[in-house]
Symmetry: C2
Subunit: 482 residues, 2 copies
């Protein structure tokens, strides 16, 4: 059992700031009051403990309130990615079968066939009293996030009380906690990198400064003026922050203690520029299945261990499958209280662990000092501006086009997004990139859309006919050199 996150926090530090959004702020008590109000009106929809509620909303205070309200009722929350196409959203909603689908105003149309309820409506409803649970079972599923895999078939990953609290605890032991901490959140709340900030907030009693979007100028103001002590970013954001600091020729405030950078190693050029601007970079390796960070590279090791994802966190075990010596490469496997117990819906019976170990599909090695290096991402994962794109998923969508016989997708370097998808097809040569993109419009999120199209005669495959995406990547490289 674990204490009810927000209820327990309110008992301890009711008057501490919990959330700031623009000019508005909420103490933990004020947040809790709103949460209970919304939870009470959710009750009028017949919501029961154990129900599943899906939410489609951009990052905003009402989303935070609604998530906590669902938790107060003992419900699981499916967090839907607003960047997905309508077709992708439908797939996930069908798979999750939520009791209730809540949407932010303006999104009703997109998921109309699933009879959504607008979040605003909840505030107007009469609130019904209900009993607040003091404690929650560790194995209770709190959040569900969809992520694709080898097959390109999105799976709803369960994140339990234990998963989230183990992660927040290991993070506290690693990067520390201060009573005046303020975490700047520009990461989407429907991603684990965003949601985990709000779990740390209630466990530590920490303020979150939330932005709906990545507002560069405002964010840099906050960093320079010492408004925040922690921030999570992906490389793309880091680069933009660096450029802005350089343009203004200023450094960040020494109050900034940690800039947590996810989504692959940080280029050495960024690192040097970050050091010059006083930014303490903590590179991290994690995923939806580990409820955020599982390894981090401390700032003092950033240059010495360039390209490494650092050491496993205190409550996390990492091993390289079948490797017995340092520098031996193999599949990265993870064990610990932060590892998901499994999936929901169509994949409910898919095992997430083998003998207690999560097999990530990522390839990596440990050096002789125990630092982890990720050399190849699972299933040729493409990371574009912090969003994960699984090539198989894009290929599956492309293959629905009648003029296409075979398809292969891989990541292509991109100045702005780090990577973007490139498509290779065997099919009618008359097909243009534009008409392929038009075809994919309602099937794929914009960020998953192929940005270039290559017609090829034969797809590179191995003896067992498996697509070799690394060959595609090699073609891209040789082409850009040519």
């Amino acid at each position: 059992m674990y204490p009810n996150w927000l209820a327990q926090r309110v008992k301890m530090t009711p008057n501490r700031k919990a959330l700031t959004f623009g000019q508005q702020s909420w103490t933990f008590q004020q947040l809790f009051d709103e949460v209970l109000e919304v939870a009470g009106s959710l009750k009028t929809f017949g919501v029961e403990n154990g129900d599943r509620i899906a939410i489609l909303s951009p990052s905003k205070p009402a989303l935070i309130v609604t998530i906590h309200a669902c938790w107060q009722l003992g419900c699981e929350v499916v967090l839907l990615n607003e960047r997905l196409s309508d077709g992708e959203l439908s797939y996930q909603i069908d798979d999750a079968q939520p009791t209730l689908l809540l949407v932010d105003g303006g999104y009703e149309e997109r998921v109309a066939i699933h009879s959504p309820v607008t979040m605003n409506v909840l505030k107007e409803k009469t609130s019904v009293k209900f009993e607040i649970e003091d404690e929650w079972p560790l194995e209770r599923t709190m959040s569900i996030m969809y992520t694709s895999g080898t097959t390109g078939n999105p799976k709803g990953v369960r994140q339990t009380v234990q998963n989230h609290t183990t992660n927040a605890t290991a993070s506290a032991f690693n990067m520390g906690v201060q009573s005046d901490d303020v975490w700047l959140c520009t990461m989407p709340v429907f991603h684990i990198s965003g949601l985990s900030i709000f779990i740390r907030s209630v466990l530590y009693g920490m303020e979150v400064r939330l932005y709906s979007k990545f507002d560069l100028s405002q964010v840099v103001d906050d960093l320079v003026n010492g408004e925040v002590t922690r921030m999570s970013v992906v490389s793309v954001m880091l680069e933009r922050i660096l450029r802005e600091l350089e343009d203004r020729d200023v450094s960040v405030s020494p109050r900034l203690l940690t800039m947590l950078v996810g989504g692959g190693p940080v280029p050495s050029n960024y690192l040097e520029r970050a050091i010059a601007r006083g930014i303490p970079i903590l590179q991290t390796y994690g995923m939806t299945e580990t409820s955020s960070q599982t390894a981090t590279l401390a700032p003092e090791d950033a240059v010495r261990k360039l390209g490494s994802s650092g050491k496993p966190l205190y409550l996390s075990f990492i091993k390289i499958d079948q490797a017995t010596n340092p520098f031996e490469e193999g599949e990265i496997c993870i064990r610990g209280g932060h590892v998901t117990p499994g999936y929901i819906g169509r994949n409910a019976s898919t095992a997430s662990q083998v003998n207690g170990w999560l097999h990530t599909g990522d390839i990596g090695y440990f050096d002789d000092e125990g630092y982890l290096y990720v050399v190849d991402r699972r299933s040729d994962l493409i990371i574009s501006g912090g969003e994960n794109i699984y090539p198989a998923e894009v290929e599956n969508a492309i293959l629905q086009h009648p003029m296409i016989r075979e398809a292969g997708v891989c990541g292509m370097s991109d100045e702005k997004w780090g990577q973007v998808p490139a498509a290779f097809i065997v099919g009618d040569e008359a097909l243009s990139l534009e008409s392929l993109q038009a075809f994919l419009q309602d099937k794929l999120a914009a960020y998953k859309m192929p940005k270039v199209l290559y017609h090829v005669k034969v797809m590179p495959r191995n003896a067992s006919n498996k697509l070799l995406r690394r060959e595609l990547r090699a073609w891209l490289t040789s082409e850009s050199k040519a």
Copy 2:
């Protein structure tokens, strides 16, 4: 399961400082190397996983190494209080039935009948290899400490992996963690206030600056020079530190973040003087059965909530038995992962909890803002210089004297120790305090010895013949007024 504390820490931050004692320092790697050496030589005594090892030693690095060595072998450690009388030690050793009794050089005589092994011998022995466990079961008993209760019969309290880690985690959430933290330890390691510092050390990766004794001048140097960021004290120590700071007319370094004060509320006079000298006082309420702190009063509330023990920690629930409203007094009951599952030896079958709640025997109430006030300590507990003294235990010893028919003991205010025991007897009026003390010499620790003796005609008792110690306290007060 939980990671093996020290082994996991060494993987993360092998080169961070773990321990400083005088001019000597150990990194976590160096500590671990010594620990494995000692563990290996313990193996030559036939020690097995699950065995129980008792240790009698003052606070010193060898004690820390030995405790960790026992843990690496999967053993329970009984920590014996060196201040106890030989008779009291014998009772505890008989009760615990350890596989092995380890003592610091010079203490062999005191427990000779129990065939002790000197800790020094371990360093000379050949070390035998053994398999290091990666993970420990949460329910494994790590330490056992004896504490008396209502009956005056000392009970060996079990503290498990879960108890210690829950406590360290809640403490981190409450008072924060910084990567450059250094905790000054002058509390005895055989008490939970001392041992818990070393558990935080391995979980957080934090240095401990250990002293064998409370060396006032050295401690104040450390506080003033910014050598440490945290310290645990009892009121008696705090007062001596304050006087020394006042004599030198200096304040502590702003690097000092927390002075954790246990053993009853801090007098307002101390508080004001602490504020004047820059000491952030965190008053705390806890006990052996809760593996240290269970409630703390934040520095910002210290004056406003004078006399309070503060709010329950994040992973702790506290209720007042049968109270339904603020300010209603009743028995303080505690629930959470930090609460002991029970006792060993003669008391192995004594339940420590009722429906998951530890009944402390302490009387208290919550105010309307949820702050806990302890108004009467369990079983008329006397706290003398940070040591707990149970009147019943002292009475039992006194009653063995042939000239005494009835005995009652209560706490008497003392300038130096906070409280000292006062004895009331019904018996031969010829008996002097000195001859009673001589009789008790080998039965009671020096700090438990009655400092005054009153002959009375009748003991104050209630209708069911239960001794009313509060009447004895009232007699003392009226006498001192007279």
